[in-house]
Amino acid sequence: MSGVKFPMSLYSKKVIYGLGIESTAHTFGASVVKSTGEILSDVKSVYTPPEGSGIHPREASRHHAEKAASVIEEALKVAGIGANDLSFIAYSAGPGLGPCLRVGATVARAFASYFDLPLVPVNHAVGHIEIAILEAGFSDPLVLLVSGGHTLISAHSKGRWRIFGETLDITIGQLLDQFGRAAGFASPAGRKIEELAKSAKRYINLPYTVKGNDVQFSGLLTAAKSLLASGESLEDLAYSLQETGFAMLCEVTERALAFTEKRELLVTGGVAANQRLCEMLNAVASRHNTKFSAISSKYAGDCGAQIAWTGLLAYCAGVSVPVEKSVIRQSWRLDLVDTPWRS
């Protein structure tokens, strides 16, 4: 069985603190964590694009550069510790938007150099998974990661998170955001769509595409957008879009659950904040006598805590990088990340 080697065992008596910086997309976040598994602070500032638009990478990165100092300061203040109490600084090294990642990495490098701290690169997707595992208290779960950047099903085996199913085109977050954009909402639009769906009157047939353990959402998006343009009710479409897209996710999750025979099911990432999705997944889990947990809404979306906590696990397992060799990777697939803290 896979399980985390708890950091405390490596630092028998000494409790350590770490700072994590998140900046992959719309969110600039900073968080301080303690090796006992406590999240002492989690501060964020989110760039919001104008109504009807998506994230503009340059504009988002400008936002991050402006807010970085105050967000980090606040994170340290809330945690009640100074920079000298820290043992390391972790940053989200990818995958994500280049200009945004560069801001977080630059800030982290400066901080590491100035305070002479080890620098720990963290994969953003692993961050979503680890923070959810910490919260749920799980040891070896099947994970559904649903966000604007990811839609995949994963379980840990032989040192890496292996992918058991994923989207072959766009993510569930993109599906919701791009439909939202067509309806005139700003991204992320998931919450708005969830609200609208509650007042729907009927289900409209939409394309349902499952291939093996993989899904495709682009046909569903095109159909929903063209029905919206032809005057179908927005509420009915929001409802049908959710029902269809989430059913696809539940189906492949259930297949992966039956295949891997895991006893824990975890959903994490921004779209995990959707109540309807969680309700459906909970039913899938109970059908297979599996424990279910969804990340709480405060850590569902991108946050510093996911980077800080994963950074702590990585740092305790000996992961760090010299400033001059620290890079960002816009493309960094989950299954290419070594995770030496998990057996």
Partner: protein
């Protein structure tokens, strides 16, 4: 006589007696957590597709269970019981040489399906049973007809994904053996374009290394 033999993700399988023969009753059970209209549409569509493609696959020389009875409204299918070991387990327990030969045979079966434009859409070692020295293909619920190279490549790409997540270190060996078997049915030129397409699909994958 009726005995539950498998509770799958999608369907429950029962071993039954059908006119004095051992048969399997496959029921796609309602999913109460799905929108009811969508749930019924999926279950009945897949049931009829499965019956259709079990038959089509047979017609192109691929061993599949015989279909005895179909009821799309109840999402129920009764078919021949195939006795044997699943390829999934065989690939975990048998010697490398035997596994390579089994993967080649799986490749040949897939090639036969593809030469008749049948996309299985759920190619995994769980969906092949080794019975009396032959590979029997099952689970055609997601199958469809296509002439597109893209669809054939996706079909194989899915199999590659399953091999990697299940047999990690052996995945390359197994997948190359599948392609070897496939090549014995199709022309080298076709297989080369297919391999190039599979690489293209991999590169399209989210956050795949930018080449």
């Amino acid at each position: 006589m009726e005995k539950l033999i498998k509770k799958g993700a999608e369907a429950d399988l029962y071993l039954i007696d059908w006119l004095d023969r051992l048969a399997v009753r496959k029921v796609r059970v309602p999913k109460p957590y799905f929108q009811p209209q969508l749930d019924l549409a999926i279950r009945s569509h897949r049931t009829s597709q499965e019956a259709l493609f079990l038959r089509k696959a047979r017609d192109c020389g691929v061993s599949t269970p015989l279909v005895y009875f179909v009821d799309p409204k109840k999402a129920e299918l009764i078919m021949q019981y195939i006795e044997g070991e699943r390829l999934k387990e065989a690939l975990l327990t048998r010697s490398d040489d035997e596994c390579v030969e089994l993967c080649r045979e799986m490749g040949r079966v897939i090639a036969h399906l593809h030469s008749h434009d049948i996309m299985h859409s759920d190619l995994t070692p769980s969906n092949f049973i080794i019975s009396r020295g032959r590979l029997v293909a099952i689970d055609f619920g997601l199958s469809f007809i296509s002439k597109k190279l893209e669809d054939k490549a996706v079909d194989l790409h899915l199999l590659k994904g399953v091999l990697i997540s299940t047999y990690t270190e052996k995945a390359d060996l197994y997948f190359n053996s599948v392609l070897e078997g496939y090549s014995s049915i199709h022309s080298e030129a076709f297989v080369n374009t297919l391999k190039a397409k599979i690489r293209e699909i991999e590169r399209r994958g989210r956050y795949a290394r930018v080449v």
